[in-house]
Point group: C2
Chain length 294, copies 2
Amino acid sequence: MRTDTTFKRAFNDMIDIIGTLDLGAELPSENALRTQLGVSRTTVRKVLAGMSARGIIISEAHKRIIREQPRQKERYPKKETLAISEQVETSFMEWMLRGDACPGTEINETELARKFGVATTIVREFLNRFQKYGLIEKRQNAGWVFKGFTASFALELFEIREMFEMRSARLFAALPDGSPVWKQIQSMRAAHLELLADIDARFQDFSELDSRFHRLITAVAPNRFIESFQDVITMVFHYHYQWNKRDERARNEVAIREHLALIEALESRNIALIDRACRLHLTSARETLLHSIA
Amino acid sequence: MRTDTTFKRAFNDMIDIIGTLDLGAELPSENALRTQLGVSRTTVRKVLAGMSARGIIISEAHKRIIREQPRQKERYPKKETLAISEQVETSFMEWMLRGDACPGTEINETELARKFGVATTIVREFLNRFQKYGLIEKRQNAGWVFKGFTASFALELFEIREMFEMRSARLFAALPDGSPVWKQIQSMRAAHLELLADIDARFQDFSELDSRFHRLITAVAPNRFIESFQDVITMVFHYHYQWNKRDERARNEVAIREHLALIEALESRNIALIDRACRLHLTSARETLLHSIA
DNA sequence: CCCCCGTTTTTTATACATAAGAAACATATG
DNA sequence: CATATGTTTCTTATGTATAAAAAACGGGGG
């Protein structure tokens, strides 16, 4: 009853690998492919069997030769490469952010399972994991309550975020000159400037850069609880702004400039400057989020 | 297949309720009992049926009379009143803290289920919830890795704890004189003094008082993420010290005195004093934990 | 002896089944 | 008609089943 999404994803990835090779070339060993694809050898063999069956490769004794380049239409559609649990996450977020749920709504496992067309087990597992985001709460022997994507959620989120980011930024600035992070922060600045130069076309790339930037700063003094909190932030921004595109370009441009200011402050090693730049950025991010919730 | 632990717990609680009433007295209505017992009316009726069957009460038309006081041995044993998921939690903690697991150990759902004598579903659900404590990590399509109850875990835990508690203590001190919390903190002080006076006999009561004290301070400015983190702390102390009783009395006495110092600092409203008392307490708690891990 | 591939065993992801418990509905009684 | 009990329906907690994926095992060739 398990779905074969791992296989399908690996199959698609294999198409890309073959694309980099010439006709008639020999494929790497199963073990090598296993590492490249990040799956077990069992799955590699299944993929290879599939490729053989389609005439893309020929399996000779102990080697596999590329016979023809796979067509793009052989790819499995994206949706079939997502585990059921991942699909449930998307469905749930959509349900939540589309506004089908207002604060206080009771969440019914059975009903969600029916609505999403999956087994209750999966919904249950998802809700248990999702609990850490602070948007739902469980009641003993009964269902869950949706607490709402509200202003107070945003405020509490940002209170913690501010504590964590200020802490990381200070530790960051205290690193010795020789540390490799100063190189990394410079390339980070370059990436920001590049994006800014082409902001009209590429403003949607910011979200990923944002996440990378904050993770770089946090990574200098790892703390599992802070990292876990970053997941919350990532989730919020990823999904929330996926359903709320208003002013996206302008919003991102402002954030990029704030990042640049923070980078400069970090390089100055001046605590007061850093605090100010950091707080400024977070305040503006918070206001933007609050604005979009209201 | 669901266990009837809810019923058994309610049954035991009902024995206590009947204990407060006289022979021949009439029991409260089903709805009233429902509220008192904190279960559904369905369960109340099942309990009443059980009491009838044992001759403890007599059900006449629309009323139930106490016929004889239930004997203590009618109680269900404690273990049967714990949901399977709760039992799994205990089993897992024991497995972990007894030292059967060293850092890096791979956790196998099937094996744990066999070892604990429960369904894999339950183990899976437990691990998913337990993830938030930062002690285990999931790997895609494979099992879990136990990261170890290590010194770095303790350090990371206390880094966050310090941020959160200092924040709450400062906000606490900023409350106006008229606020009811000042009354509450006074009775908190009284509770501490009482415990201290009888420390040799009651040192084990500290754990619960500790939790209540920290929650009182945190509660003045609620933040769901901080509250959720408190669960981590509670779990750590609850289970860890359950398996590590060394110096418990002395440890708790020191902590009580530190709490009293913090209470005094709070009442002084002097930020510098508060910071110092708070940090002192946390440092000592951290050292104690580190010491007991090594 | 180490890597490669074929085969077998074990584990995970997901579906489904069912008793216990909660909630909703219906009826009776003061 | 409001509140209490009797009855029915729906939901959750927990167990079992199974295909997919991972891991372990084993023989053969360089």
